[in-house]
Structures are given as C-alpha cells and as structure tokens.
Symmetry: C2
Subunit: 228 residues, 2 copies
C-alpha cells in the first residue's frame, strides 16, 4: 500500500541495466528446446535437465530465465499463440473487407489454414508447437492456458458462425467447432497413424492437399450438424 514517489523508487532500486545479447540467446534457445521436448515427451516426460542439455545451457539457467518448469511450459505455449491468433484474426478481417457476407467455408479456412501453413511449411518448431497445442486442448490441467491463449479467438469465430446459423444453439456450434479443431490437430499428432492406416507404400499426401481435405470435411460436417 506504500505508494512511492518515482524518486524514492529510483533510490532503493540502485541501478538498472539492459539484458545482454547472450542472455537473450540463452533464454530463447531454452524456449526452443523446451518446445521440442515438451511436444515430444509431454510435460512430465520432459525433464529440465534434458531441456537444458538440448539448449546447450545449464539447468540453473532455466529457473533463472523462466522461474521454473511450469512457467517455462506456459511461456512456450504463449509464445506462438499470439502470432497464431493474429494470423487468424487478420484472415477474418481480410474476409470481411472483401465480401459483405461471409461463408462458412471462408470462415473455417481463415481459422484452420494459418495453422496448417505454418506446420506444413516444414518448420520443425511449428510442428512441435502443434503437438503442444493438442496436449493443452486435451488436458484439463492446462485449462487456464486454453482460456488465456485460445478461447478468445475461438470465441470470435464461433460468434461469426452463430450469425450464419441463427437457429442453431450455442453449444451445438461449440461442439462442432471442437470437432473441427480436433480434426485439425490430428494432422500433427496422428500423422503416423494416418500413414499406418493408409497401408501399402508410404505415399504421404502433401500438406496443402490435406488442408483442402480438412476444410471440406469440417465445412460439410458443421453444416450437417447445425442445419439438421
């Protein structure tokens, strides 16, 4: 409750310095390594020792830069969440600017494609991130992260879909939306299973082909579930 004057604040906080380039690089490489290992082995399966080793840093650096394991996990998820949300909302804005009335396909495309383009470009960090999002979306232990990072944008798109289906109730829309998100995430988490079930030679389909198929699937599925 003691409200300090700027002068007093400056007095007892002796001096301040900018972060060094090396420190920033360490912090970043820890985030990258954590992203990879958390995605690969899960939160409990990835140890801070392995993360530090993969980042070429000391174990103590993780606590120093990112408080602890749990905060590190949250920061890893948050890092790309805002970028992804921005891409989605930008696509939505572009859509609204172009046509006065939105279609369901355009809406789903705006939501689903940014994700798939990032992952499909082959960037291994984005592929890892996709697995992370799937983990967070499927585990109630991380519901606070979902609330903060993903639900706001999802809410915007659900509201737009609700305008297209005025007679459908909100929970039915939310259910269909989760179906769509789950299908999208399965492309990252279950690619190995798709290949196994495709049988025969491993002619894996290209990501942009998969993206088209996903949008078709979700558009038709949603329409059927909401119009019925």
């Amino acid at each position: 409750m003691s409200q300090e004057s700027p002068a007093a604040a400056r007095a007892d906080q002796p001096r301040r310095r900018a972060v060094s380039k090396r420190s920033l690089a360490t912090s970043l490489s820890i985030l990258d390594a954590a992203e990879r290992l958390f995605a690969e082995r899960g939160y409990d399966g990835a140890s801070v020792r392995d993360i530090a080793s993969a980042a070429g840093a000391q174990i103590a650096s993780i606590s120093f830069h990112h408080v602890g394991k749990e905060t590190l996990f949250e920061r890893v998820v948050e890092r790309r969440a805002s970028e992804l949300s921005q891409l989605r909302l930008d696509a939505l804005s572009a859509l609204k600017a172009k046509a006065e009335s939105l279609t369901l396909e355009a809406l789903l495309s705006a939501f689903l494609r940014p994700y798939l383009e990032k992952a499909g470009a082959g960037d291994p960090q984005w592929l890892a991130y996709a697995r992370l999002v799937a983990m967070v979306s499927a585990d109630i232990r991380w519901h606070r992260i979902s609330e903060r990072c993903f639900d706001p944008t999802a809410g915007v798109f659900i509201a737009e879909i609700a305008k297209l289906f005025p007679q459908a109730d909100r929970s039915a829309i939310a259910v269909s939306f989760i179906f769509s998100v789950s299908a999208m995430l399965s492309l990252s988490t279950s690619q190995w299973r798709i290949e196994a079930l495709s049988a025969a030679a491993g002619n894996r389909p290209a990501m942009d082909r998969l993206a088209d198929q996903l949008v078709s699937f979700c558009e038709a599925g949603m329409r059927a579930a909401l119009e019925g």
Copy 2:
C-alpha cells in the same frame, strides 16, 4: 530346441496352483486404479506409488502382477480394446445381415456409437478409458499399442468405406477416418473446453444428443472429402 516329453516337463516344474480370488481381485483393482490415474495424469504423470495407493495395494504388487509400469499401461489399454472391437464388429455384422448394401452413416454409426454409449452411460472407468485411447492415438511412443489394439478394426471399417467410394484413394479415406476418430475422442478429452466455449450457463448437452451430432458431422464431412 530341446523338446521335452510331458513327463519330463512335469518333473522339473514341480507343481502348479490356481490363482486365488484375493490375488485376482488385487490384480484387477490395480488395473482399475491405473486406468483412472493414467487417464487423469498421463503415463509419466501417474506414479506407481499413487496407483498402488489408489488400488489399496502395495507398490511391489504392481511389479508382481503386471511386470512393471510399461506393461501395466499396455494391459490397461488392451483390457477394454478387445471388448470395444467386438462391439464394433458385431454392429457391422448386424448391419450386413439386415441390409445388403451399407450406407456411410450406418457404417460410421456402427464404429462410433459403441464407444459413446459406454462412455455416455456415465461409467467413470469407461470415461477414463476414452482419455487413455486418445493419449495412445496421439502419441507415437505408443504406436505398437495402436497397431495391435486399434488398427485391425479400423482397417475393417476403412475397407468397407472404400467399397462405398471406389474412386477415392486409400490415404484420403484414412485421413477422413482419423478426423472422425479425433472428433469422437474430443468428446471425452475436451468436454471441459466445449463447456467453456458454449459460454453462458452450463447447460451441457446429453451424450446421446452429442452422439447424433457427431455421426452427422462425420458422415457429411467424409462424404464431402471423398466425393469432391
């Protein structure tokens, strides 16, 4: 390579006894507790100590009855997998006996509904199991379990779907099938997220209503993805 006579085999294996009822109960309660805790916290998040404690057994009993943690996990998954597969294949047989030509909706219903009816009946063990299956399906570390427990039945249904869409290629069918399975599993793993996105008062939809919506969603989605 030494082929022993029955007499010799009986000689060096001194005597055999049936398992006691108590032993069987212990083994079973361990499986139940493991199912709950693995589903709740994941493989690495659930400790054998917590599992033993929840089962009212000693830690050493887990190694004694189920070899070790990894084997215990596999047995937990396998236990209900055969029952589930049987229900699905029975539904398929019933379908074939009734009508000479199958519809996509009937096929998907035969695959999806047994699962949802078990989980929807409110049996907490089956609800936990659904989360387990989602974990196995999304993690390549458990691909051997998927291969053994789930892929064979999935292959049967994919083959039936392939008959309905002769022009669609196998991998496209597999992709749509994984989309459908992911949507199904999301009802168990992301129910909390659905409720969050439904906003407003928590009027959660009944499971049989959700099942109808899921089948509609997947049927229309598959048709669009495979006919296009």
